[in-house]
């Protein structure tokens, strides 16, 4: 069950927003009567939506509403607009856990602001961050790779989640993330998260045929096929991941017709060829050289990818190794 209070708009004053939040909780308690609601918060999640239309912010809100169930947080949905007026409002996401008797609620704040004034936005956000809990900044679109307007927000966060899926220059985007990492920031990329199903299939292939891998690791080749004329960040990450795991292997990338992203990977060495190919209905067709089977790819909706990233609040050594 989901519930939203009538949002109250306030002037952009952090003290006023915090007061609105307190009143919101008092209202929720009154509405629920005896027993009240359970207030849950395990982090601050700041989602930056970039477009001028309201749909983007609405989509971010929807995704956050789903994420709240597993990662209850103080959510701050920040919409940056050119010449945008500063406004703020508070809201709550409530749900009844399966078989539960008491609603659980998490709080949120919606802010719109001028995209030219992110310095000021960053100052505003400081008092709105839930104290002593991790802060995750989620940059939903490619703006972070196009200009430096989001830079003032980065120091607020313990972890910054990007999405390079739609960037025009994949290699530059990866270089940008590498620099961020070298600057000590903990970064994630949903394009990398999308690879988990593929990577898991490769790891299982290794478990099934360790001898074959030994041969491939020494002198074999790995052929990766991707959709689109140029490899996107996903294919580039995947190739780097293979290279880091098996330094002796020769990895090649080649395009095939079809949607951008990974299409197949073939491992050739002394033994029989092994391959993983994109199948139908979200499956992977895995050929171990001895047998063929299907593996389900995990759902790659925005909320599923975010759910995976929010469950990793510490370092992610494998991704760090891939970034270099």
């Amino acid at each position: 069950m989901e519930e939203q209070l009538n949002p109250s708009v306030s002037a952009i004053d952090p003290e006023k927003i915090l007061k609105d939040l307190r009143e919101l909780w008092a209202q929720l308690a009154r509405d629920q009567g005896a027993g009240g609601v359970l207030r849950a918060c395990s982090m601050t999640l700041i989602a930056v939506s970039e477009h001028d239309d309201a749909l983007d912010a609405e989509q971010a809100r929807k995704t956050i509403g789903v994420l709240m169930h597993e990662h209850p947080s103080r959510a701050i949905v920040l919409t940056l607009r050119e010449d945008g007026e500063f406004t703020g409002r508070v809201f709550a996401e409530c749900w009844m856990p399966f078989g539960g008797e008491q609603q659980i609620c998490a709080e949120g704040i919606e802010i719109t602001a001028d995209s030219e004034q992110t310095d000021e936005v960053a100052r505003l956000l400081v008092p709105l961050i839930a104290p002593d809990l991790p802060v995750v900044l989620w940059c939903r679109g490619p703006r972070a790779f196009l200009d430096r307007s989001l830079d003032p927000l980065f120091p607020l966060a313990n972890k910054i989640i990007f999405n390079t899926r739609a960037v025009r220059h994949p290699s530059s985007a990866i270089e940008f993330l590498k620099r961020m990492r070298k600057d000590g920031r903990q970064v994630a990329d949903l394009a990398w998260t999308r690879l988990t199903g593929w990577r898991e299939a490769v790891a299982h292939l290794m478990d099934a045929s360790p001898d074959g891998w030994l041969a491939a690791g020494r002198s074999g080749t790995v052929r990766i096929q991707h959709g689109g004329a140029r490899p996107g960040t996903r294919s580039l990450y995947f190739a780097r991941w293979i290279e880091r795991a098996l330094p002796g292997v020769n990895v090649t990338l080649s395009p095939v017709a079809g949607d951008p992203g990974m299409h197949s990977v073939v491992f050739a060495g002394a033994g029989p060829e092994m391959s993983i190919k994109l199948g139908s209905k979200g499956t992977l067709e895995v050929n171990t050289g001895e047998r063929v089977y299907s593996a389900m790819l995990p759902a790659d909706s925005e909320e599923c990818l975010m759910r995976e990233e929010l469950s990793i609040l510490g370092r992610d050594p494998v991704f760090e190794r891939v970034l270099g």
């Binding site: 597993e70 209850p72 990577r199 898991e200 790891a203 299982h204 795991a245």
Partner: protein, 495 residues
Amino acid sequence: MPDSNPFADPLRFQRQVPDCAIVIFGANGDLTKRKLIPSLYRLAYERRLPATVSIIGTSRTKMSDDEFRAKMHDAVKEFLEDSPFDEEQWTGFAKSLHYIPGNLEDPALYTAIKEKLTTLGRSSVLYYLSTQPSYYAEVAERIGAVGLGHSDGKGWQRIVIEKPFGHDLESARELNQRVHSVFAEADVYRIDHYLGKETVQNILAFRFGNGIFEPLWNRRYVNHVQITAAESIGVEGRGAYYQEAGAVRDMIQNHLLQVMATVAMEPSAVYEPDAVRDERAKLLRSIHIMTAEEVPLYSVAGQYAGFRHEPEVDPASQAPTYAAATFFVDNWRWAGVPFYIRSGKKLPKRTTEIAIQYNMAPHALFSPGEGGVTMRPNLLILRIQPEEGISLRFLSKQPGSGMRLRPVSMDFNYGSSFGERSPTAYETLLEDALTGDATLYTRQDMVEASWKVVAPILDDWANRKFEYPNYAPGTWGPVAADEMLARQGHQWRNS
């Protein structure tokens, strides 16, 4: 071959259960219907079981594969915990279910199982004994007699044994010996589902993942510890079993001593199965063994009014439906700190919790004033079920003029802080056994150590005649249990 998989990413990849078969003995029993198959279904639903897994049920009842599947379908629908049933998912899962009828004493059953495993091409097998305990050793030996139970180098063979592991020290040793004639100790998984509960595992996270609690976790600050496992229901059709087992064998020897070991153990150097189990075992061995003179002082037996009228219960039964005991741990950390443990049926409510009571502040600075309090010990409550969580009670100033104090509680609710569904204990433990992780399973030395702890109580009670019943349903047990604590200047936390 590399030492470990260079593609492994434990942060993101789910643990992979390898292709294997699970053979459930006693597949027509309650445990299979209520816990095992619903847990396996849920693991499959979450794609934590390979699609190729084979689950072979066996029991005396004659059934076809399809009849077994239909029966399990209804069971999963009824007993699946905290999650909805998905008919489409079930259709896929049901294909992995097979059934072989047979008598546990009949060698032909084991030959049939072996043939089935060969037909299915399974070299890795988990045998789950959900039978009467008296069959455990025999089933293990008969598995061995047909050439199963030993790894042939291609896969693994493990056996899961439900409690009770024997009915005393001697029988536990005998059971171990007979099981070990087929299975190596590393392949024997003695299940204590309490250890699979998220909140019991969380005790280790709470103690050893935080810096502020462990310095206060010793005799200098802790006054005493109470561990309560209360049931509001009676024996509910298990009268025959309960009459034989009683509260000590049913709850204290296994579940509650394991919980106590988790609360009181030293930190292990690493979080690895044997390292953690070594520390648990060490703690169990450190529990003071009561002398014959100490047993009446430090233990209390109870039986609720009406137990003797339950079906299959002897009208003169001496079985305790309630047991309480005071244990001391003979080590530097806990010397002199009483651990009060109690478990009973027909108590006022269902609750399992650990209450750690701290020493009072050394000096009463504040006067009580009207309606206020002056001194109360701090209390840390670890709630195992229901409403899993942690509460810390301390004194706070009441709003208004003057300095009146009032106890307040700071609560952490496990469910609301982690909105995601927690796996049930059986899901956790089954997945652990299938992936070879024995951290939450009980080892032979732990079983023997806990039998040694309760042996003096069992011996004493077996030779006494109690005036039962001695507590009314809906109360917190016999008065003698209150007196046991009162002698130490303490009282049960009955709330």
